[in-house]
């Protein structure tokens, strides 16, 4: 019951963040996407989903990542990232990533050298590359300070109310 209450609290927190940001970014187009993830240190493959909410020069990215049970480490992350573009051309851009997330290590086990709890708070920093299209592939590298592990991701984000070259609502895509 305690755990369930915790999950509800985390989920509520994320929802509040999304709603709060959405109210400040009504004029800017949202995006949603999915990704495939690989953690070389735990030798685990995962999948992720995300939303992208532009906020000034940032993009706020609530996201959920899941590493299924066929991996050595089964876990999920529920968090919010900030993406900040720092280098761009007409066709692509590089962005910095700062991510805070709740991590539940589902098959937490005693064999690991690490001890602690299966429920954790994580911080990650990293880099990403994406294009300037409405349907944007991306590649990301993130470093997890809690576990000292890297997460590599490849995926796509689709920006709503957006056309390549011009947006449907006469609002430019995030990169335009």
């Amino acid at each position: 019951m305690m755990i369930k209450t915790k999950y509800i609290s985390y989920f509520t927190f994320i929802l509040i963040c999304i709603v709060a940001f959405s109210k400040t970014t009504k004029a800017q187009p949202w995006g949603a996407g999915a990704s495939v993830l690989y953690n070389p240190q735990t030798e685990s493959f995962g999948a992720g989903i995300r939303a992208e909410i532009p906020y000034n020069k940032l993009r706020i990215v609530p996201q959920l990542s899941y590493y299924p049970s066929f991996n050595k480490v089964t876990e999920y992350y529920l968090g919010v990232a900030a993406h900040l573009d720092f280098m761009e051309t007409r066709s692509w851009k590089l962005y910095a990533i700062a991510l805070a997330s709740y991590n539940h290590w589902i098959n937490y086990h005693s064999n690991s050298k690490l001890t602690g709890r299966p429920n954790n708070w994580d911080g990650e920093l990293g880099l990403g590359w994406t294009t300037q299209k409405c349907l944007r592939p991306f590649i990301e590298y993130r470093y997890n300070f809690k576990w000292k592990e890297t997460n590599l991701g490849i995926g796509f984000v689709y920006t709503f109310n957006c056309k390549d070259g011009k947006s449907r609502s006469s609002i430019n895509c995030p990169g335009h």
Binding site: M1, M2, I3, P40, Q41, T42, E43, K57, K72, V73, L84, D85, F86, M87, E88, T89, A96, A98, W105, Y108, H109, S110, N111, S112, K113, L114, T115, G116, R117, P118, L125, G126, L127, Y143, F145, W147, K148, E149, T150
Partner: protein, 298 residues
């Protein structure tokens, strides 16, 4: 190209710098350098209560009495072969008695039913056998059993052991009770097999314990939790306990045997809080006598 600010560069620098300094770690999947153990089954089986056999003849005297005081009143008219045939003398009654936490631990017979802890006044395994075939009680018929625990607890129920493949789960018999008497708990059992004199001891607020170790591979370590206030034994599977009432005192015993048949153990007492707990286990070498003493004192 354009660069949006010093903060971004700083962020990038911190990220890459930290990575270079701290590097990456495979600790979460690294099992090396931990003490390894083999299964404890052989050791625990060598210590558990042996099955007693009683020959029931036409001229036998009732009741039969087990080593630890269990009394059974066999009735030939109330049993049958699996195919419905009647049973003739002689036949055999087989009995295992588990009345102490130590014996329940040795037999790996915790008092947990459907995930709920049970207050137990004893567990027995009762069988009737003829020509090496297990007999069964006739529909609606019973045998009288007296569990030899003397206590003030009332409203004790009959629980039957249900084979859950890797362990015995306990299911309450909705109409079966054990009535407190001066010499123990008396009940009319309706089927053979594992029988517990128990009652549900779960509470609305419960916690779980996750076990880990910096020094020992716990894969083959047998860990048990005894809850004195509830008179309940729990076995830990896959390093996570079942539900235990919050705020209660518990005793934790971990038992391991290495490849050289040396015995190891860890013993802890603790008071649970209101939230899930993490417990670190460090096994130490011990002897059979020393471990027996620990289990006797639970």
């Amino acid at each position: 190209m354009r660069v949006t600010g010093k903060i971004t560069k700083l962020l990038l620098g911190i990220s890459l710098g930290t990575l270079l300094v701290s590097g990456c770690s495979k600790d979460r999947i690294d099992d090396s350098n931990k003490n390894e153990y083999k299964s404890t089954d052989e050791y625990l089986n060598s210590k558990k209560q042996k099955e007693q056999t009683f020959e029931i003849t036409k001229d036998g005297y009732l009741p039969i009495i087990g080593n630890q005081g269990t009394k059974i009143w066999p009735d030939r008219n109330n049993i049958q072969f699996e195919n419905g045939d009647s049973v003739h003398y002689p036949y055999f009654v087989k009995l295992i008695e588990l009345y102490t936490p130590k014996d329940m631990i040795y037999a790996q017979m915790p008092s947990v039913g459907g995930g709920d802890i049970l207050t137990t006044k004893g567990e027995i395994r009762l069988r009737a056998v003829k020509n090496e075939l297990d007999l069964k009680l006739r529909e609606g018929k019973t045998w009288q059993v007296l569990m030899s625990s003397i206590d003030t607890l009332t409203q004790m129920k009959q629980y039957y052991g249900v084979d859950a493949s890797s362990y015995i789960d306990w299911a309450a018999n909705p109409v079966g009770e054990f009535f407190k008497t001066d010499s123990g708990y008396l009940g009319q059992v309706q089927k053979f097999g594992w029988i517990g004199c128990d009652k549900n001891a779960s509470t609305s607020s419960s916690v779980k314990i996750t076990f880990s170790s910096k020094t020992d591979d716990l894969s083959n370590v047998a860990t048990f939790i005894y809850i004195p206030m509830k008179k309940s034994v729990m076995q830990v599977y896959k390093q996570v306990s079942g539900k235990i009432p919050a705020g209660i005192d518990i005793k934790i015993v971990s038992i391991a045997v290495n490849a050289k048949d040396s015995l190891f153990y860890d013993y802890k007492t603790m008071t649970l809080g209101q939230n899930d707990e993490a417990v670190d286990i460090t096994l130490k070498a011990t002897t059979d006598a020393a471990l027996t003493k620990v289990l006797d004192a639970l």
